[in-house]
Symmetry: D2
Subunit: 305 residues, 4 copies
């Protein structure tokens, strides 16, 4: 079999999950930015490393790590998107054989601890409500920027139906006009290249998009989680001209009405068992009409956070 010949296909490499914490302490009122950063590079010249172990062009993953921490000092982290853009630009310009790469961050949010009703200067508590996402993809000379949110867990205790679906020999599910709808939203939005060029208030946008996602989930009378998903994406695109598409992954976290009849009890949608597995899994993309698609932007970006 030794005459079977093979080649190297798609590849990338780097350092994953660098936990970069940046404190701003120029005044007694400190600020904190808390990221989990992954940097990965691509380049045709890297093939020799795979083929023969020649590391001449391998910017060490340790060097990528050092750079991530050094840049947190040199340039700060005004937003995860801007920070990743700096990293991306550095690697593709400092090393001319690096053609592109993927840079990703998760941001954990902290809020100031209240002491006698006043927000403390340098003491924080992690909010735990969702994780912010950011990604920068450089491929074929194009730079794509994505924002996002993960683990935004929402539930509505009414205002959700599911009926009218087809029935075959394996269908046992009853139709319902009132159920709990619960999901953990992962959403990622891609910014228009022109907007990135012009500059974006990424932090303000994230706050607004988060609020739009929540209020849309709350107010849509849901006939299916798919419908809720689409409405949430549409609302985001309508709210912010910088955003050209939104991708969602939404597990349907089933809450089953507990059967209390054997105990002589009624259960008018009051007592539920929250189940783990299996769960529904609804995924979908909402795109702005007329905008340029960019499938490369999403290369290797996971559906969940």
């Amino acid at each position: 079999m030794s005459d079977v010949s093979v080649s190297l296909g798609a590849n990338k490499y780097g350092k994953a999950e660098n936990r970069v914490v940046r404190i701003y302490r120029d005044t007694p009122r400190h600020e904190i930015v808390d990221l989990n950063v992954t940097s990965q590079l691509r380049g045709a010249a890297l093939a020799d490393c795979y083929l023969s172990g020649d590391n001449s062009f391998v910017v060490a993953t340790d060097t990528q790590k050092n750079t991530a921490f050094a840049f947190a000092k040199l340039y700060g982290i005004p937003s995860p998107e801007e920070y990743l853009l700096r990293l991306a630009e550095h690697f593709v310009t400092a090393f001319d054989w690096i053609d592109g790469g993927l840079w990703q961050a998760q941001q954990y949010e902290w809020e100031r601890i209240l002491v006698d009703g006043r927000a403390h200067d340098h003491s924080f508590v992690r909010t735990g409500r969702a994780t912010r996402l950011a990604a920068v993809q450089v491929v074929d000379g194009q730079t794509h920027v994505m924002g996002g949110i993960a683990d935004l867990v929402v539930l509505k205790s009414t205002g959700s139906e599911f009926a009218g679906f087809p029935r075959d020999q394996y269908t046992t599910l009853a139709e319902t006009d009132d159920r709990i709808l619960a999901t953990s939203v992962t959403g990622r939005w891609r910014f228009l290249p022109e907007a990135v060029e012009a500059g974006i208030d990424y932090n303000g946008l994230y706050a607004e998009v988060s609020a739009v996602l929540l209020s849309t989930f709350a107010t849509v009378h849901s006939l299916a989680l798919q419908q809720t998903l689409f409405a949430m994406g549409k609302a985001v695109i309508q709210a912010r001209p910088e955003i050209t598409e939104v991708r969602f992954a939404m597990p349907n976290r089933h809450h089953f009405l507990y059967d209390l009849a054997p105990f002589g009890l009624e259960n008018p949608n009051e007592v539920f068992l929250a189940a783990d597995r299996p769960y529904g899994l609804i995924e979908g993309t909402v795109t702005r009409d007329g905008a340029e698609p960019a499938p490369d932007a999403w290369l290797d970006i996971p559906a969940s956070g």
Copy 2:
């Protein structure tokens, strides 16, 4: 070897992690209580099940589960402590061979989604900031009630030192007068039996204790995490006469100053690497002077949440 004889020692059994979700929908403004409930029973009569598989006295774990869900309907869940007390009382009275047991709950908190600045009637988002704990222990005819909190992640970016510790041949740690202090607090407090008897506003107390924990962490200038821990427990006991002792487990989540000197950069406590393992682990109990100790209350209750 067949003549070695053995006996049954400590034991208990039950159903763990029942995800009980209770919706109150008597008005259009719904309320949600979201628990993870574990029920376990003890009794001398249960020994025969271990010894010979005789199930005559084994209240099935499935029956314990059904009861947990039925009671959520029958009596509601005014607080996790009161709900567990009902369950405990039921099992030790309905089955005269059940001597006692341990009932535990974790409560996940939700807040109303804001729509145009107004809190929505039936749509919620999980806060994710800490998990509430409750436990009821019945042993030797005594009933003990414990509240608690887990995964309260806090950080102060200054106001923390660590110095003056002894040095031996294995000591390399430098003293510091300014470091990040971060931990994920698990705290459990035991209520005075008289207070339980008299009735407690468990929900109000939880809110107050949470706030006291946070503000004490924020304001204590820390010479050691141990010192912070003790101050937090003392503040809780001083704040609420119903509480007789507090037990803490606090991992010291190290944030290491990143060495930027090789890159010609200073790092005056601005850029840190947040580490996972190993971590410091500080545990301690603060007790009200003059109160009756109750070691049995803590039987089999885990240190972490």
Copy 3:
């Protein structure tokens, strides 16, 4: 902004993580197959559900679940690949509006418990060594079949170097000619459509590929994890003519030599600290020369297991 118009992009939906356990008990010597199955469907007709909540064409995720369990009885699970092929074929033929979908499985392996040196008939222990993966993708009328393995944790205590990499102002890593190399292999291989057509001994192939991955990792003197990765993929393709490409994700699980010099001790590669985060992350694909590429096959398939 209400005149911004949007459209539905890529989407799919289904039921995730159905834990299907199939026991064969036709003789006293039972067999067990233990899967975690995810079924997701795609189809242009499903758009109305997203756009307006019209469920007329939505094969319920509950129906997909029921079908997964029913097929485990009807057709058994000779291999995860064949089982998923049956499910895929069913959904795209039974519902003419279903254009395609993605079916995935993880398989947990069990081995017989030894009693007095003999393998027991109906008692098993989970091996825990790696998880088997399978996926079937139907898109544009083409059916693609992939096998795989996840969480195969391997380590070599010597025979690994890393040197010759470029140095810039952020490079501090020392070159080494002897280090621990450790990784948790996730690999996925795509089968040639002709081989799928002709029939494949998927279970035998999995066993052989697993062995080839291990022995190649063991015997390659590693100059970089990239080189080891490529060699492993090449060996797999050379070993089995049914396989046309292999995709890997390999975290570099760093084992740092512990600095014992302060304690007057030498450490000639004997005592290491195994680190969690950050970690190197090396990804790459090895393809058979002359084979038809099929990028659609990999749509939405995660890099890790």
Copy 4:
């Protein structure tokens, strides 16, 4: 309330989850020992740290970490029990104000990779089948040694019944004379002090106890998981005179028979849904008759691994 007075109760502190990997490379045939080590100290003199932040007696958790790694070089890790004994002895003798403590380890097992049927000299694959546990407790001048095992996942596809349990108004469970019995065993055994004194082949004992646990699980016809648990503990004590008691925590991992009747299919114990939560949780201790009890030995040792 400022005149409420409080005291320090039970406490300990240290460094948790040190990932110590020890390679023996005296010959080309390397050996690997892979531990996760936690060291915690107790002592009355440590109270001042809690009360006032006085660290004069606080052996830094970083020093405990250094010592754990240094001892891996100095004394090696013949077994986790012997390694922890060395650490324990060091801390209570080198620092006369340290009264005792708790030292724990998890051991991950590796086996040699097979190349052409021969076990490789320095390449290993993690077995993943269970984790070995060890603990040393020093309290009141007594040293207690415990071994153990965690995450030993076992299943029998027949030979398990559950019937004859009492029925009340909340009981709906049907009796069964044939079900799947599955659990993930965590077991911990305490060694007789005399046996520890005389010296024990801890590694050989672990291998034998593991085998006894498995074969007993396999061969006992189970009327309840409790009965299986007791039989497993009894067999361990009968097999090894060094062991005086065994503590188990066994979740009952329910496998529910899937209802295929709506699809016109029978299901004679062939197709099951493996459930996550809730689960039964059975705990129990088996003790050697005539042996000295030692409740202090188990202080703060978690029930699960």
